[in-house]
Subunit: 314 residues, 2 copies
Amino acid sequence: MSMSLLEKFYSGDIQALSRLISEVENQSNGYQKIITAIYPKTGQAYKLGITGPPGAGKSSLVDVLVSQLVQERNKVGIIAVDPTSPFSGGAFLGDRIRMQNLSGKEEVFIRSMASRGSLGGLSATTFEACLILDAFGKDLIILETVGVGQIELEVAQHSDTMVVVLSPESGDSIQAFKAGLMEIGDIFVVNKSDREGAARLVVQLNMSLESKRKSEKWGYPVLSTTATTGQGVNELLQSLKQHRDFLHQQGLLAQRRKLQVKSQLQKVLENQIKLSVSNRFKSDLDWERLAEEIYQKKETPYSLADKILQSWRS
Amino acid sequence: MSMSLLEKFYSGDIQALSRLISEVENQSNGYQKIITAIYPKTGQAYKLGITGPPGAGKSSLVDVLVSQLVQERNKVGIIAVDPTSPFSGGAFLGDRIRMQNLSGKEEVFIRSMASRGSLGGLSATTFEACLILDAFGKDLIILETVGVGQIELEVAQHSDTMVVVLSPESGDSIQAFKAGLMEIGDIFVVNKSDREGAARLVVQLNMSLESKRKSEKWGYPVLSTTATTGQGVNELLQSLKQHRDFLHQQGLLAQRRKLQVKSQLQKVLENQIKLSVSNRFKSDLDWERLAEEIYQKKETPYSLADKILQSWRS
């Protein structure tokens, strides 16, 4: 990782941006130095999290939203976190498909990332990619993810404003409640609002948000959109700006940012320990030898874990 | 956690079994000692993983399968891993509903567990509960989970035989391919086989398994069941026994068990690391002070993580 790469990055070179994200994604040697170097330049971009059940039309909505934002001269970065096969490793919806829709727009940078990491969930890589887009000078970073599992909670922990997108398909509201999506959203969107059941879903959402609205100062709007026609997108943009202003006025943005930083620190710390422990096991052979000892009942996973950590500490 | 609890456990007391699993689930003080104590008694139970998309009828199928297994005098333990709200913490489908179906059968122990853990995925708790059921003397342990996200991969890593359950509902096959379910199954089941599209789904599955069947010695059967009528359940039982025998004969069971043990060790190690990180910051105040330093750009998550790690190791 040469300094000239960083220089190109600072000069606004998109290929350098892409390269840097790849280095981070692959945890190339010394990638942490790069992030440490760019870190002081971060904190300028506004971070928007978008989640919802599969098929709610998140990507289409993001695409029209971003087209609008670009017209308003915003520089936008999109990180699409795909719940991938842990086997194939890569992200399913490649950048290429999305790029076609947003092509020719230099102000938009889009990257698909897998939600890998041995325990699943959002990897440190995702927020590190956000840091890079932030330092690159993006005004807005959109973190888009499918609302299954617990990734959306972590996306919420890294976002300033969180949008939950639902559609009137059967069971979407149930899934939203099950997945805890109601608890993380600042703004709720019923997409595909021309379909049957949309009005009912809006009513359901409004009802379930009643008590939250009473106890907090934010109004938790429920909006109707149809991404395919662009209907409702302006209202969504308005709501986003209102929420940003609300956070500013109430002093809540600083509070959210500190929580983001806190969860970053914890993630980095866990990651560093894991890296430094696994560096002790250069080859998979070591793991297999240890597994053999447990299999033969000479050790237990707990006795061995203790020993490994003790030797790591000393 | 008194020794008398362990004594009761060894004497076959179901309440003691339930208590032990709760202690592990809550990570009560000293729970690792309990697992270390029972560890030598593990390795006897056969572990069956069952996964598939939501609504494929996994639970109903498990219920009829277990009824049959109990008639054949097997002692069965079921761990149902629910993808839960990280907020509510608990599992959605409580034990109670399921217990009604299998009630009066002392040989069956069923427990719902949340797939919590800060990084999502299967928590160490799940395989620890398996160890407890194993040491308790269960012949068969069923790990049942919804095939979304990456939990099913981890279930596969802890199972001797992996069954993937699909239904002819629209999109199930697509979801199976996307989620990598085809890659982890040993046996495939098309449940709700009386519905339209079932035969087509069987054909699709057979086609996609062709190359796998050629390159490996196992036949990867595709079975049709209707859990509500019990149709096909005997064939499924037959296939399960065939796969178990196949693993034995080919010496593959030991190989799978060693992989299980290896992933247990890695999970325990990661868990210990996380615990030791959060133990260092018992009070939330410390984290907030550190977050403040990063927020004010006096530090970065990386510089602080390095300092914290250095201070721990010295």
